[in-house]
Amino acid sequence: MSLDVILFLVFAFIAVVSAVSLVVQTHPIASALSLVGVMGALAVLYLLLGGEFIAAAQMIVYAGAIMVLFVFVIMLLNAGAERRSISKARFAKWFGIPLFAIFVGLLSFVVQALLPKTTEVKFGNFTAAGGGEVGAVLFTRYVLPFEVTSILILVAILGAVVLARKEI
C-alpha cells in the first residue's frame, strides 16, 4: 500500500469519527471541537488530492475563523451539557435500528442510481487549483457570484448591526 492510501485511510477515519462524535457529544464545546477535527481532516484530504490552496483556505477560514467564533460564543454563553431525554416509546425501541438500516440502504441505492458514471480519482491530480489560478478565475469567470456573495455578506453585517443597535 502506498503512503497516499495509508494517509487517506487514516484521515478519512479521523473525519468520520469526528463527525460521529460531533452528533453524539452532549457538550457544545466538545461538538464544536469535533467539527474542527472534521475540517482539519478534510483539509488533509484536499492536500492529498493536490489542492494546497483549498486546504489552507479551509484551515484559515473554517477552522481558524468561523469555528473560533463558535467556540467563543459557546464559552461566553457558558452553555452547559445538554440533558438527553431517553424516549420510552416501544415502537422506537424495537423498530428504530432496522428501519434506520433500511433507510440508509434505500438512500445509498437511490444516490448510486442517480449519480452519473464516475471516473477514478487519483492522488495529487488536482494541482491546477493554486492561489494564482483561483484568484484569476475568481476575478474573470466567477466575478458575478463573487460580488453577489460579498454584497450578501455586507447585508448580513448591516442586519447584525441594526439588531445590535437596539441593545445599546
Binding site: E52, F72, M75
Partner: protein, 397 residues
C-alpha cells in the same frame, strides 16, 4: 543521499536547535529585562546564569503534574498539547539560507518548501487560538476563562491587519512560497540599497512592516497587548491553573510563536538571508568584526573584574567569541554560515525589539486594544494594500 534520511537528519537538527533556542530565549529575555531595570538577572547557575535554562527544564520536568479536581480533565490536558504542537510546526517552512553543499550533499537550509508556505503559517497561527481559549475554559476558573476569552477576541481582531499587512509584500514578490519570496529579494538597486520588500519599489513596505510588527505583538500576546495574562487583574490569565510540564508547554508555545513570527517577518520584509550591503563592500566580514569586537570587550572587562569569578568567565567568553569568528573565515563553512548569520541577525534584532518593548511600554486597556485594532490598524493596513496594488499595477517589475 537517501531522501528520507536527509529529511530526518535535517528535522532532528532543526528540532534540537529550535528547542534549545526556546530555552535560551527565556534566559536572554530575563537578562535583558533585568539590565533594562538596572538589575543583574539570573546569576547563580553557572557563570552569568548560562545554565539557568537547564536548571529550569529539570525543575519543570520533575515537578508534580497536578490536575485540579474541578477542571474538565480531557480539555484541560488537551489544551497545552494543542498550543505547543501547533506552535512548533510552523518553523518547518521557514528558509534559513540558500541551497548549500554539505559533505557533497546539496540541500536547502530549509526543512520543506510548500507552494503555499505563507498560508500554511497563517493557518497554523489561526488554529493556535484553540490552545489558549480551551485552556482558559477547561480550567473552570473565572480568571482563566476571562483570559481565554480576551485572548481569542484579541487574536481574531489582530489577525485581520496581520493578514492585510502580509498581502501587500506578497503583491511585490508575486508568490506564496517562502523560498521564492527570499530569492526574489536578492540583489541591490543602485548598487547599495538592498532589494528587500521594506526598501524596494514600486512601493516600499515600511508601513506594512510596522503594521505587521504591531499585529505580531498582539498575536503572540506580548506587552503591550498581554491582556490574556494581565497578572494584576487576572492572576496569570488562561494558565493560572496549570503547573509543571503543562505550564511549560504554554510557555514554550509563546516563545515558539515569537520566533516563528519574527522569522516570517524576516523572510517577508527584511530579505531573509540577503546581506544589508553587497559582498564587494565586505559584508561577509561583518560577523567576524562583530565577534572580534565582542571578544575584545570581554577581555577588557576581564582586566577590571567587578566580581571574583569575572576574572575567568570573561576571558572564557572572549576566547569563545574569537573561535566563532575564526569559524566564519574557513572557506568551506563560509557559504553556510554567512547566510545563517544574516538571517539570525535580522531575527535576533526583531526578538530584541519584542523584549525591549516589554521592558518599556505599559499595558493597553481592553477597549483601547480593540479600538486601536479596528479604527486605526485595520484601515492603515487596508490603505497600504490598496496603494501597493495600484503601484504594482502601474509600474510592474
Amino acid at each position: 543521499m537517501n531522501y528520507y534520511l536527509l529529511a530526518l537528519l535535517k528535522a532532528a537538527i532543526l528540532a534540537f536547535v529550535f528547542l534549545t533556542a526556546l530555552a535560551y530565549l527565556q534566559l536572554v529575555e530575563r537578562k535583558l529585562l533585568a539590565h533594562i531595570q538596572l538589575r543583574l538577572g539570573p546569576y547563580r547557575v553557572g557563570p552569568h546564569g548560562v545554565w539557568q535554562p537547564l536548571a529550569d527544564v529539570i525543575k519543570l520536568v520533575t515537578k508534580e503534574d497536578l490536575i485540579p479536581s474541578h477542571v474538565n480533565k480531557f480539555f484541560y490536558v488537551l489544551a497545552p498539547m494543542i498550543a505547543v504542537a501547533l506552535a512548533l510546526v510552523s518553523i518547518a517552512v521557514i528558509p534559513f539560507g540558500p541551497e548549500v553543499e554539505v559533505f557533497g550533499v546539496r540541500t536547502w537550509l530549509q526543512l520543506t518548501d510548500l507552494k503555499i508556505g505563507i498560508l500554511f503559517t497563517l493557518a497554523i497561527s489561526s488554529v493556535g487560538v484553540y490552545g489558549v481559549a480551551l485552556g482558559g475554559w477547561a480550567s473552570n476558573n473565572k480568571y482563566s476563562l476571562l483570559g481565554g476569552l480576551r485572548s481569542s477576541a484579541q487574536m481574531i481582531s489582530y489577525e485581520l491587519p496581520l493578514a492585510l499587512a502580509i498581502a501587500a509584500p506578497l503583491l511585490l514578490v508575486n508568490t506564496l512560497s517562502f523560498r521564492e519570496m527570499a530569492n526574489g529579494q536578492a540583489g541591490f538597486s543602485f548598487g547599495f540599497i538592498p532589494n528587500w520588500n521594506i526598501f524596494s519599489g514600486p512601493f516600499p513596505q515600511i508601513i506594512g512592516f510596522a503594521v505587521f510588527l504591531i499585529a505580531a505583538f498582539a498575536e503572540t500576546n506580548r506587552v503591550p497587548f498581554d491582556l490574556p495574562e494581565a497578572e494584576n487583574e487576572l492572576v496569570a490569565g488562561f494558565h493560572t491553573e496549570y503547573s509543571a510540564m503543562k505550564f511549560a508547554s504554554f510557555f514554550m508555545a509563546e516563545y515558539a510563536n515569537i520566533v516563528t513570527i519574527t522569522c516570517v517577518a524576516t523572510v517577508l520584509f527584511l530579505g531573509a538571508w540577503h546581506p544589508l550591503f553587497p559582498a564587494e563592500y565586505g559584508s561577509d566580514f561583518v560577523p567576524v568584526i562583530l565577534l572580534v569586537l565582542g571578544g575584545l570587550i570581554s577581555l577588557y572587562h576581564a582586566t577590571q573584574p567587578a566580581r571574583r569569578w569575572d576574572r575567568w568567565t570573561f576571558p572564557l567568553f572572549g576566547v569563545i567569541a574569537f573561535l566563532l569568528a575564526a569559524l566564519f573565515l574557513i572557506p568551506v563553512l563560509k557559504p553556510i554560515l554567512i547566510p545563517l548569520f544574516w538571517f539570525l541577525a535580522k531575527t535576533g534584532t526583531l526578538i530584541f525589539i519584542f523584549i525591549w518593548v516589554r521592558g518599556t511600554l505599559p499595558r493597553f486597556r481592553y477597549d483601547q486594544l480593540m479600538r486601536f485594532a479596528w479604527t486605526f490598524l485595520f484601515p492603515v493596513a487596508l490603505v497600504n494594500l490598496l496603494i501597493t496594488g495600484l503601484m504594482v499595477a502601474l509600474f510592474p517589475k
